[in-house]
């Protein structure tokens, strides 16, 4: 187990190395002048591109450029993001907690609703609930995130004004937050507001989270429903479940203790990947709902050709994904004692 973790962690630098080689390599397709633009922070620098090219060695061969990039990266300098008008590292520090916040709230409907609905469907195979679950999953599984987000906004914000519009706070609370700031402890506004006892802000952030969370989780939830259902149906037909019934155990105990526990094994793997997928989905969801996380920054950086920003965002995404994959594998070993790593 320990060797497994070490090996997986050793893989992380390899991934990052190859990724950065690919990106710095792709950058060579651009002229040195265009790449120099990534370092420009004020007008004076813009007039003197040659100096920047010389300073950062942008006209040097690839391996020297890569080495220079790596040296500054190891010093914690990933460049300056034009999209956020801040250094990349500072942007990530400021925005990553908001993405985590969105993901944390998304876990509730994703795992709770997905597993609950899948269980009900699986236990009532071919009955009305099951048919409904299957139709629901087929339909929602087909709506791309960006379309779903816009549809939800159109219906619940545009047509019926039941939900707040894009953003993290209503305009009046943005003003309130400036007048009476909430101390930044976790970086996640809803939790910070809660810790500061500021219920108005907390409630407002929660309201603004409803539509993004639905957008982010609908597709993965429908997959989870179908997998839970299928796995439960498989498990229910196994011999040990029949034995448990024959022993005279109550139906509820058989279903939930004997069958569902085992049925959840494949669900755990898939659920882990869905949680990882939340980060990828965050790019689109955060952009639609103007959520101040890393996803909206990443897409903004790409749309505005902010090279340092894209590079920083991709690095962050890769690191988080590799670490989360490791966590899912370990979690799986905890849930299923039959699994051994060697």
């Amino acid at each position: 187990m320990f060797a497994f973790i070490v090996r997986r962690l050793l893989f992380l630098p390899v991934v990052i190395f190859v990724l950065t080689v690919i990106i710095v390599g792709l950058l060579q397709l651009l002229s040195p002048e265009r790449r120099a633009a990534a370092y420009v922070t004020n007008e004076q620098q813009a007039r003197n591109l040659e100096a920047i090219i010389k300073d950062h060695g942008l006209d040097q061969p690839f391996h020297i450029q890569y080495w220079m990039w790596l040296k500054s990266a190891l010093r914690g300098d990933l460049g300056f993001s034009k999209a956020s008008n801040k250094p990349v590292v500072a942007t990530i520090k400021e925005r990553f907690p908001s993405t985590v916040e969105l993901a944390v709230y998304s876990l509730i409907p994703l795992l709770g609703f997905g597993i609950w609905f899948g269980t009900i469907a699986g236990l009532n195979r071919n009955k009305f609930v099951d048919q409904f679950a299957r139709i629901y999953a087929t339909i929602t599984n087909n709506i791309p995130t960006f379309v779903l987000g816009v549809i939800l906004l159109v219906i619940f914000y545009g047509f019926f004004n039941l939900a707040p519009g894009p953003g993290q706070l209503s305009p009046e609370n943005q003003v309130n937050l400036i007048i009476k700031p909430v101390p930044r402890i976790t970086g996640m506004l809803s939790f910070d507001a809660l810790l500061a006892g500021n219920w108005v802000i907390f409630w407002d952030v929660l309201r603004h989270l409803i539509l993004p969370v639905i957008t982010l989780t609908t597709v993965s939830t429908s997959t989870l429903i179908m997998v839970t259902r299928g796995s439960l149906i498989d498990t229910l037909s196994q011999d040990y479940v029949r034995t448990a019934r024959a022993k005279g155990l109550p139906e509820r105990v058989v279903n939930l203790k004997h069958a569902r526990r085992n049925a959840l094994l494949p669900v755990a793997t898939l659920g882990g990947f869905q949680v990882i997928g939340l980060l990828g989905g965050a790019i689109i969801t955060e952009t639609i709902f103007a959520w101040p996380g890393v996803g909206s920054w990443g897409s903004d950086a790409a749309a505005r050709f902010d090279v340092a920003g894209i590079l920083g965002f991709a690095l962050l995404a890769a690191v988080v994904t590799v670490l989360m994959n490791l966590a899912v594998d370990l979690l799986y070993a905890v849930i299923d004692p039959r699994i051994r790593f060697d």
Binding site: V15, G158, A302, I310
Partner: protein
């Protein structure tokens, strides 16, 4: 005697139409719904130049086709018909921009232009003719899907079978490469590649191929390993068959079944991922006929003017419905193909 005769009669040679997977597919009602939707989209894509002909105003399609009257393309005898359908100039893929008014114009409402009056069928958004964008967008979607999936399958087959058949360091190298591609969530790697290459349809396709082959290679490797262990492959080898013959005649055809189902699902999901990119303003140039751009334009008109919340319903409704039906069609078809090819039960 009679028994043998009747037996011979019932044992007609199995054709494609009567083979087990196809029979199973035909029995599935949802499969037929999916197939119909997909056929509809393919027809719209192929005949886009007839459904949304080169406009009087909005792009240079008419000029580049070398026609003076949009109706010329409907004459099947003229070379213009064939040129428009099979080799339309790139300018036809630009959504016809009727004017530069940001405010949407409702379906069918006439708009005055310097070349006379036009009636956009499902309205305009940001001045773009939405109908033109939807019709030519399905052509973009089909083109992208077919080209990207073909390359993905081809590269996936090459690397997957090399990896599975030879094993050893070849296998290790290819698998680590795939691990690296899989280390990125969702669209991140595609966004990086597309952005650095610059906006164009070709570059979007390059980005999708660069990341998409890995899934096929991994599935195919597993299938090759599975098939390789079966006895008939040992039999072929014992009879003296060469590596290439075993690979192409015995292993690949069996392993390909698994890839077919994924390919069908990908044909539907790749254009939607590309649309998601252009929704974010990444990938395709501004104004390129693509569904994502239409949804992006609709984003600004979520709220109607004060007191009329439903005023701009059409701006998001038509693009969203198109995308949902497209996704639904391919997903039903893909699911049915997967079930039909499933060797279990």
């Amino acid at each position: 005697m009679t028994m043998t005769a009747s037996k011979q009669g019932s044992e007609k040679r199995e054709t494609f139409w009567t083979s087990r997977p196809v029979r199973r597919f035909r029995r599935n009602k949802l499969a037929i719904v999916g197939l119909s939707l997909v056929t509809l989209f393919v027809l719209v894509a192929v005949f886009a130049p007839l459904l949304a002909p080169a406009p009087k105003v909005g792009n240079n399609c008419q000029r580049d086709l070398g026609i003076t009257d949009p109706r010329q393309v409907y004459n099947i005898a003229s070379p213009m018909f064939w040129k428009a359908v099979f080799a339309p100039p790139p300018s036809c893929y630009q959504i016809a921009r009727i004017n530069y008014r940001a405010e949407p114009s409702p379906p069918g409402k006439p708009i005055q232009t310097e070349f006379g009056e036009v009636r956009p069928l499902v309205g305009t958004s940001n001045g773009y003719d939405v109908w033109y964008g939807l019709v030519w967008g399905s052509r973009t979607a089909l083109k992208l899907a077919v080209i990207v999936v073909s390359f993905n399958v081809l590269i996936g087959i090459i690397f997957g079978s090399l990896s599975g058949y030879f094993g050893g360091w070849v296998d290790n190298l290819i698998q680590r490469l795939i691990d690296i591609i899989f280390a990125f969530p969702g669209l991140v790697l595609i966004i990086v590649i597309t952005t650095l290459l610059g906006p164009s349809l070709t570059n979007v396709m390059i980005a999708f191929v660069a990341t998409g082959w890995a899934g096929y290679a991994r599935v195919l490797r597993g299938e090759v390993l599975k098939v390789k262990a079966l006895e008939f492959v040992d039999g072929a080898r014992a009879l003296g068959a060469a590596d290439t013959r075993i690979m192409f005649r015995h292993i690949l055809p069996n392993a390909l079944t698994a890839v077919t189902a994924i390919a069908v699902l990908d044909l539907g999901s790749l254009p939607l991922s590309a649309a998601a990119l252009s929704f974010l303003g990444i990938g395709l140039p501004i104004g390129f006929a693509d569904w994502g751009q239409l949804i992006n334009a609709a984003k600004a008109w979520i709220q109607g003017p004060y007191g009329q919340p439903f005023a701009y319903w059409y701006v998001s409704f038509f693009p969203a419905m198109t995308i949902i039906l497209f996704g639904l069609g391919w997903n039903l078809l893909g699911g049915a193909v997967r079930d039909a090819l499933d060797p279990r039960d």
